[in-house]
Amino acid sequence: MRLLFGTVFALAIAAAIGLGATWIALTRGTAYGGVTIGAWTAWPKNGTPGIDPYARAMVARTGELPVGSGDGVAFFARTDDAGQPLDGRCDVLLSGITPQARFWTLTLYDPEGRLVANSVQRQGFTSQEIIRKADGSFDVTVGPRARPGNWLPTGGVEKYLLALRLYDTPIGMATRTGRDAPMPSIVKRACL
């Protein structure tokens, strides 16, 4: 009787721990081998056959396709430089330059990877569309209300994330620091 009770008890705990750990790993995003520069993180290995099992499981769950390493690399930011989650009700200033790449695109997604509806139907910028300053750097205001210059509307959503994808770039698995890859800073301004 005691054996039966112990077995059931152990199996129940095992199932809870095992499935719980899997669920947390896949929803919180615990992929290994990330390259973090400021608020931005990329997982260049996810675009190669060397993708780790957690990232594979995550990709299978969300239904996305990672950018192939011969194509480019995708950096994601969920917070600003101070570590605060990006809030679509606040103005956020993205400024600086991007690492060497033939083209890049900046895109705003909700946490599930959907584009965000807004009045001007703008979901991002390409390196060709962006208005630069004389020194080649640029400012993008990410916020709910229209702004002069490069304005990336948030549609007032509570949470969002930014993707900066570099195409035809030397940035990849060998990249470690911001000196190799200068990413734009993300600074929170006023909130609604």
Binding site: G6, F9, A10, L11, A12, I13, A14, A15, A16, I17, G18, L19, A21, T22, A25, L26, N46, G47, T48, P49, I51, P53, Y54, R56, A57, V59, A60, R61, T62, G63, E64, L65, P66, V67, G68, S69, G70, D71, G72, R102, F103, T105, T107, Y109, E112, G113, R114, L115, V116, A117, Q123, G124, T126, S127, Q128, E129, A163, R165, Y167, D168
Partner: protein, 180 residues
């Protein structure tokens, strides 16, 4: 007390095994992965345009809206495929994914070095069967070996400014992916 601790230890170990097993098995069991999503719109061995993502509707999450995209869902069980796409004005890339969405090869217009990206896609077994010493092994014929019999070829053409969408779509419309 010791008995309970032992049961707990056993449960922890078993939990770890359950965790690893689910993580490893998930890619082959997922019903809503990218391959399944593409299968819903694309027949086998033909190039199909993927609608540009909008806030309401997207074939896959995290698609880059600055690209025109076409897809070829391939099946090599009947033999190798010939693939070609003319490059568009801005940037064109071709990425290969296995049946379980692992990116195993990608090439862009500059790496291809010509006006057309052309290659032969086959499984490792089909490649081994290729006769040697023929001009098919010449350096100008790019051969890509697929780790799985089925998979996806994503063909992407950058639309650097909105007005260029049609030109990018036209380049992709000329893409071909068919059995030899």
């Amino acid at each position: 007390m010791i008995r309970v601790a032992l049961w707990l230890l056993g449960a922890l170990l078993l939990g770890g095994i359950v965790h690893l097993a689910t993580v490893l098995l998930l890619p082959s069991m997922a019903s809503q992965d990218a391959y399944a999503r593409v299968s819903a719109i694309a027949p086998v061995n033909s190039v199909i345009p993927v609608p540009t993502p909008t806030p309401e509707k997207a074939v896959m999450p995290f698609m880059d809206p600055a690209f025109a995209v076409s897809v070829c869902r391939y099946d090599l069980s009947r033999g190798p495929l010939k693939f070609s796409v003319p490059i568009s004005q801005a940037y064109t890339s071709v990425s290969f994914y296995t049946r379980t969405d692992v990116a195993y090869y990608a090439i862009n217009d500059r790496a291809a070095g010509r006006r057309v990206i052309e290659l032969d896609l086959m499984t490792a077994a089909q490649r081994a069967e290729l006769p040697e010493n023929e001009d098919i092994t010449a350096a100008d014929r790019l051969i890509v070996a697929s780790p799985t019999t089925t998979g996806l070829i994503m063909i992407r053409a950058l639309v650097p400014e909105t007005g260029w969408l049609q030109a990018a779509r036209n380049a992709l419309a000329a893409a071909q992916c068919r059995p030899q």
